[in-house]
């Protein structure tokens, strides 16, 4: 049996010896009952997010892979499992589910069939959130930033913005000295947020350029982009005083080059904040040297689903249809849209993911759109047993942004990065829920490997402008 105590690395996780003991007691009882437990894997996490897609105890097994024993493992979220008595019972139930002839599992309303995580219905909920954010914020009377750990986005941290502007300005002066300053200075922000950062950036840039007697501000073209029109509208209000410098662009963050191909090799600074962590991703697990793709199936416990249906006056068998209407139309699918948002929130809190591992014969099967060789090399550098994100969305966005960079341009990303694959064994990295959206840490090691292969250098530095921040800053530029 393999036991991984991932929670030990989390300073916020309280002592869990009692919980671990309770689970081991459940294992012993199952062994006494004749269940096969010797080749089990047990994972103990302390999930830092208030809401996740996990039950306190989950069981998962592998399918496919030919002859040889299937992978069977149990994962415990110690944050949700404070009561050791119920934990032991949950663990025993989960272990029984892993037995070769398992009894029927708990009654669940499944929202989809098993699929790679990037294709799960949970991403439709995530898209709904950004599309209908005004409904959500109006109903619950708080902005989306309030769900972030600091209650405010680090994107608009004044000290960080000031330093970024200074670096940009210094770069322009170098180009000017060499006689290679472009006539137009393109700057791109992907993910407009509230527009506060753009406003701050332009304020500071104008002041700095003016104080040095440079005409740079007059030449700047600031492209503020987002795929959510409501977000672009909101950002507009924060840059009104720079109106002739800013262009608002509806842009798919997964493919910036598609929209901005005319600016290939022309953009001097690209910035993103907390966007990659909100893009669809798959996960892979390596067990005994074999790679598995993690598939998920979203569900709501039957009992909880019935309660929601009753609360909103829906027939018990009409819940799935109503969810589909919500995802397609939004809260306006309800006679009272406010009730629609409340239904959405209540349901979202209940959505969980059942998982299974699907054996991969070839990595290419799992990395559609990614360079399998880069992924293979990157995973080969990691410790033996590993489960990590492929960060498909982030990687695609990153790779499709790099060609926009001017040879002396810089791409900067503030986000939750796992820069060392070994860190995947030292704590929970998502998915978690932030209000109506999803958060996953981004596989920074994979981004670095991809950039390296494409001729770019990636550096990671801690976000030092807010004490205790988990944010890391990725900076990319062309290799010299």
């Amino acid at each position: 049996m393999l036991i991984e105590l991932g929670y030990l690395h989390n300073p916020k996780a309280p002592p869990a010896d009692a919980a671990v003991t309770a689970v081991l007691r459940a294992v012993e009882r199952c062994r006494a009952d004749g269940l096969p437990v010797a080749d089990l894997r047990l994972y103990f996490d302390w999930c830092q997010y208030r809401q996740t897609f996990r039950e306190p105890v989950v069981a998962r097994a592998s399918v496919g892979g030919g002859p040889g024993p299937a992978v069977r493992e149990m994962a415990v979220d110690l944050r949700q499992a404070a009561d050791t008595e119920s934990l032991e019972a949950l663990a025993r139930a989960a272990l029984r589910q892993l037995a070769p002839e398992a009894p029927p599992g708990p009654a669940r309303l499944y929202l989809e069939e098993f699929a790679p995580l990037r294709a799960s219905i949970i991403w439709r909920f995530n898209a709904l959130y950004w599309r209908e954010i005004e409904h959500w914020e109006r109903t619950f009377r708080r902005g989306f930033e309030a769900a972030l750990p600091g209650g405010k986005s680090d994107a608009s941290n004044p000290a960080q913005v000031e330093e970024a502007v200074q670096q940009f300005f210094d770069g322009l002066r170098t180009l000017e000295k060499r006689g290679t300053l472009p006539p137009e200075l393109f700057v791109l922000e992907i993910g407009a947020g509230t527009g506060e950062r753009a406003g701050l950036w332009l304020d500071r840039f104008r002041d700095l350029a003016d104080s040095h007697g440079k005409d740079y501000y007059g030449r700047v073209r600031f492209l503020l982009s987002d795929y959510s029109m409501p977000m672009l509208e909101r950002a507009h209000g924060n840059v009104l005083h720079h109106a002739d410098k800013v262009s608002f662009i509806a842009l798919d963050a997964l493919d910036p080059l598609k929209t901005l191909a005319f600016l290939r090799y022309k953009i001097l600074a690209v910035h993103l904040s907390n966007l990659y962590d909100n893009l669809p991703t798959d996960e892979v697990a390596r067990r005994d040297g074999r790679l598995y793709l993690v598939e998920g199936r979203a569900y709501v416990e039957d009992e909880a689903a019935a309660a929601v249906a009753e609360r909103y006056g829906l027939p018990a068998d009409g819940l799935r249809r109503q969810i589909e209407l919500l995802l397609r139309i939004g809260p306006d699918a309800f006679p009272d849209p406010t009730a629609g948002v409340e239904f959405w929130r209540d349901l979202w809190r209940l959505v969980r993911l059942e998982e299974r591992y699907v054996a991969l014969e070839e990595l290419e099967e799992a990395v559609t759109g990614l360079d399998p060789e880069v992924v293979t090399d990157c995973l080969a550098s990691a410790p033996g047993e590993l489960r990590c994100h492929l960060s498909n969305g982030a990687l695609r966005s990153f790779v499709r942004t790099l060609p926009l960079l001017h040879p002396k341009g810089t791409l900067q990303v503030q986000d939750l990065f796992v820069t060392d694959l070994a860190d995947y064994r030292r704590g929970f990295r998502g998915p978690g829920k932030l209000d109506g959206s999803i958060v996953n840490w981004v596989n920074g090691a994979l981004l670095r490997a991809a950039a390296d292969r494409l001729g770019y250098r990636v550096e990671y530095t801690p976000f030092r402008y807010r004490p205790g921040s988990a944010i890391t800053v990725l900076t990319t530029s062309l290799k010299e």
Binding site: R178, G179, T180, P182, Y265, E373, P403, H406, P407, K408, D452, R453, L454, G455, Y456, L478, K479, E480
Partner: protein, 338 residues
């Protein structure tokens, strides 16, 4: 006996490198990771070089190169052959990354052993050939100088060694040599000594000499942006016959520099954008050549891509060359020189 004659006007050629297949890139990386032997890699290089030559012939080029597929990049292939240059072999992960290389003493004179590459090329084609060599300025910029008093001093020693190598290449049959100096564009302030050491490199070399200057093509991306204006008037002192420049990606406005400075050189005109996967049409190529004909007579024009095709996928590279050849033929026909 091979007939290596050229058309009367607008001969076509690649700049130097031909498309690197993805699998070859992996094999080269395997070599750096000690997964295959040098002997195996040599055999693979021979095979892919023959294929690159054949592709150029099939595309219809008048002048062919060896495709430079033996080279990691335009720098390391030369640096590792220079005695006295200390190379940190652990310093690169992918084959076209640059080594960390340093000079810690005077570089001794010794051959670079490039002639076998030229002889292989001559054995495997009956067309006219061009052989490319990286210039002393570029090599100097990639070397950590821990011995010489200045970069020009280091470059001068490199130029002397390269001069001997060029003479050796001429003895082995080279009639058309191209010197690559892309780093001029990154360090325009070096141009004065850059041209000086270039001329040292070319002293007594009895061959047609082209000088290729671009804005970088590392990993298929520009390394610098700017204008060729910085070249003038200093470049007029270069003892070369031809400048080979990139225009297709950057536009043809700077052709006017040739007129403005009464530039006496031939022009290797870039008509294929090697940083775009889009395949140009023959008509587009013809238009680009016509734009140059407004500035230079056809007798002084060579037709080539902007830069090496190393990073262009093979099928795209082949079709681009086909369009280039056809575009040049269209203009020849218009001029009655078909």
């Amino acid at each position: 006996m091979a007939d290596r004659s050229l058309p009367a006007i607008l001969p076509t050629a690649v700049v130097g490198s031909y498309s690197m297949p993805g699998w070859l890139e992996r094999i080269k990386t395997d070599f750096f990771l000690r997964r295959i032997s040098a002997h195996e890699l040599d055999e693979i290089h021979d095979a892919v070089t023959k294929a690159a030559i054949k592709d150029q012939e099939m595309a219809g080029l008048d002048i062919v190169t060896d495709g430079e597929l033996r080279r990691d990049n335009l720098v390391d292939y030369f640096l590792v052959r220079l005695p006295g240059v200390q190379v940190d072999h652990a310093s690169k992960r992918f084959y076209y990354d640059f080594y960390d290389a340093a000079v810690r003493g005077k570089i001794p004179t010794a051959p670079l052993r490039l002639t076998p590459d030229l002889q292989f090329l001559l054995r495997n084609t009956e067309r006219a050939v061009k052989f490319t060599v990286t210039g002393p300025h570029c090599l100097t910029k990639r070397l950590r100088n821990e011995h010489y008093a200045s970069e020009p001093a280091l470059a001068l020693d490199l130029a002397r060694i390269l001069n001997l190598e060029l003479r050796e290449l001429v003895r082995a049959g080279a009639t058309y040599l191209q010197i690559d100096e892309p780093y001029y564009s990154g360090f325009p302030e070096d141009l004065e000594w850059g041209v000086r050491v270039l001329n040292t490199m070319l002293e007594g070399v009895e061959a047609k000499i082209g000088l290729h200057i671009c804005f970088g093509n590392r990993y298929g991306k520009p390394t610098w942006e700017g204008s060729y204006r910085y070249l003038f008037p200093r470049i007029l002192e270069a003892q070369v016959h031809q400048l080979t420049l990139e225009f297709a990606r950057r536009g043809y406005e700077e052709l006017a520099l040739f007129r403005e400075w009464k530039c006496p050189f031939e022009l290797g005109l870039g008509v294929i954008d090697v940083k775009s996967p889009e395949v140009e049409s023959p008509a587009t190529v013809a238009q680009r050549i016509q734009a140059a004909l407004a500035v230079l007579p056809a007798e002084r024009l060579y037709v080539n891509p902007d830069c090496g095709l190393l990073h262009v996928p093979q099928d795209v590279a082949f079709r681009k060359l086909g369009a280039m050849v056809e575009g040049a033929a269209m203009v020849r026909r218009e001029l009655g020189a078909a």
